[in-house]
Amino acid sequence: MTVTDYETTVRGRAERVLSLTGINKRFGAVQALTDVALEVHAGEVVALVGDNGAGKSTLVKTIAGVYQPDSGIIEVGGQAVSISGPSAAQHLGIATVFQDLALCDNLDVVANLFLGKEHHLGPVMNEVSMEKEAWRLLRSLSAKIPSVRIPVASLSGGQRQTVAIARSLVGEPRVVMLDEPTAALGVAQTAEVLNLVERLREHGLGVILVSHNMADVQAVSDRIVVLRLGRNAAEFRTEEATTDQLVAAITGASDNVVAARAARRAAPGEGEQ
């Protein structure tokens, strides 16, 4: 997808699917989130980055309904909502893929995809319709899963991530949050998952990508939101941000190793610019 496509998608329709403003969350003596704002548009990948303890997980869990914010406004599709729990978030169209994926290894791909949302005719499950829908979902993600009737345990890490992401799409969400989707994956599998993220954007979903990996973030996101110590530290258009800018925003200092090396590299090249 090119930059111009992105412009037309986001600027053209500019449908804000999720917006958080002034979110505060406190755990005892710790102010985990202070006045945090976040916006996600349809067909946009927003990367959420930050150091350990920056408040990423707290923010993700707040959006997923695991925590309730102490104050602040959450709007879904332009309407203020309160997310009382994980199932409420799912009903509002917010799907979350947690880092541990939460798959049942003893069940096959179809069973995992539709766990808790089985198609049924009366008390009996409709396996045929589930299998058909499973193939449709996996095809729409161009997923490389050879068979949907094999236990999830026999799949590779990337394929398991694919199943987890495909499962988040079963409830027809508007926003998908991915928590460290590439953390445990190899090179090829990471590329596979990043392709999936691209595919989610093409489907017009808002995607929130939490990651520590700057390369992944820069490869796939449209916007990067940096959190530091529970506050919005910076926000970049991905194509305008450099790695050292990001690192500086994440660490809150420009005198770190990455910035220093970038400066050393930039110094002899200044004349060429």
Partner: protein
């Protein structure tokens, strides 16, 4: 996105490929040789299913038959099936609890206590049979609900509360049976049902025909549904062969049992319960959720399954099956004594479920495990009885078989994890 069909040289152009057969990495199973190869791959990968217990049954049958040919006589088989049924029903409940990765050690005591409740109401107080049986099964269900409350709300491990139940309900049995023992009249409906009621030849063959046709119908329906949905239908030849094997096998068994008394009502009830539970476990959402919790409880909880409710249903069903089994065992022996349900009932029921192939680690097993497992144990008991061996040897042999079954489960589990089958 490239269509995988285009890159598949074997696919005829223009012929739509079923959605589930499009991936070129899939090994297609078309000929019977492919089928056998796939089967062998599954065995090597630790996907044993019923194979060990069926093999065990054949070996046990052959060994005892060689020693004492009357072991496989029609009369001997009829009585084996009759005696296997009550504990088999208890074992069916154990399978459900084991699928969740939990255990119930108190099924024997619960079965004895429920039988005592039935006997007291029926004989001592002269209530109607239905009321007495209903009360006994209700007692079982209430015990199960109590267990579930302890497990879900208080968080007591199932091993501990069922061990407590084992002692407590043995005490309750002694308390209810203050006189020592109660005889269930031989002419009461329940004793007749458990001892003397047999299907007539006509009824038995009719039942065989109905079962075979129902199987065939369900498979043909599956072909139709899958074809309509654009998925690979099951192999028609395979279905016809399986249906023929099922129909002829059951018909032959019916003929052979018919030489003696035929199919007892009690084994037929047990078989019907097994088929019903198998259906519930594999085809309903409840069964799917049961397997999911046994596989990964946290994943099940996060996907919105009401985990507590599923645990509750499992413990209630297990104790209710235990109560039903206890009542039927009492009816078969025509008495309830202070020894009812104590001793080896407990461990036989649990051992049967495990020997039949239900994993102690949760998430794997089937209702048929209870049936095959109890047949193995009953065959050993009957065989050793025929050989006039005392119960000491029987316990040792049963223990050995149980150990073997668990060892096979563990080895298969290791093979699965090394071949990526979980």
């Amino acid at each position: 996105m490239t269509d995988l069909r285009e890159s598949d040289p074997t696919a005829a152009p223009g012929v739509p490929v079923a959605a589930d057969a499009a991936d070129e990495r899939l090994i297609r199973v078309v000929s019977p040789a492919d089928y056998l190869r796939q089967l062998w791959g599954q065995i090597k990968g630790g996907e044993l299913g019923m194979m060990p217990v069926v093999l065990g049954l054949i070996i046990i049958g052959t060994v005892f038959y060689l020693y004492e040919p009357t072991f496989l006589s029609s009369r001997s088989l009829v009585s084996m099936m009759l005696f296997a049924a009550p504990v088999g029903i208890i074992s069916l409940g154990i399978v459900i609890v084991l699928l969740l990765g939990e255990i119930d050690l108190s099924v024997g005591s619960v079965s004895g206590f429920a039988a005592a409740v039935m006997a007291v109401l029926l004989v001592d107080q002269g209530r109607s049979l239905w009321l007495a049986m209903g009360a006994a099964i209700l007692v079982g269900a209430v015990i199960g609900a109590f267990y579930a409350a302890l497990f879900v709300w208080v968080g007591v491990p199932s091993f501990v509360f069922s061990l407590a139940g084992l002692l407590a309900f043995e005490g309750a049995l002694l308390w209810v049976l203050s006189d020592g023992s109660i005889n269930v009249p031989r002419d009461s409906g329940i004793a007749e049902f458990a001892r003397n009621k047999f299907l007539t030849d006509g009824q038995a063959y009719l039942l065989v025909a109905v079962v075979t046709l129902a199987y065939l119908g369900s498979r043909l329906w599956a072909i139709r549904q899958r074809r309509a949905a654009g998925l690979t239908p099951p192999n028609l030849l395979g279905i016809i062969l399986k249906t023929a094997a099922l129909g002829l096998g059951l018909a032959w068994l019916t003929y052979y049992l018919g030489i003696a008394r035929g199919w007892g009502y009690l084994p037929v009830l047990f078989a019907a319960l097994v088929v019903l539970m198998d259906f519930l476990l594999r085809r309903t959402r409840w069964g799917r959720h049961l397997f999911a919790i046994g596989g990964n409880e946290e994943a099940a909880r996060r996907s919105g399954i009401r985990v507590g409710l599923v645990y509750c249903s499992a413990f209630v069903l297990c104790s209710a099956f235990a109560a039903l089994g206890g009542v039927l065992a009492a009816a078969q022996l025509t008495s309830v004594s202070q020894a009812s349900g104590t001793g080896d009932t407990n461990l036989t029921a649990i051992a049967a479920a495990v020997i039949g192939g239900t994993s102690l680690f949760g998430g794997r097993g089937s209702a048929y495990a209870a049936m095959l497992g109890i047949l193995v144990l009953q065959a050993i008991e009957s065989g050793l009885n025929l050989m006039n061996v005392d119960s000491d040897v029987r316990f040792i042999v049963t223990g050995g078989v149980l150990l073997l079954a668990v060892a096979i489960d563990s080895v298969a589990r290791r093979a699965r994890s090394s071949s990526g089958r979980g």
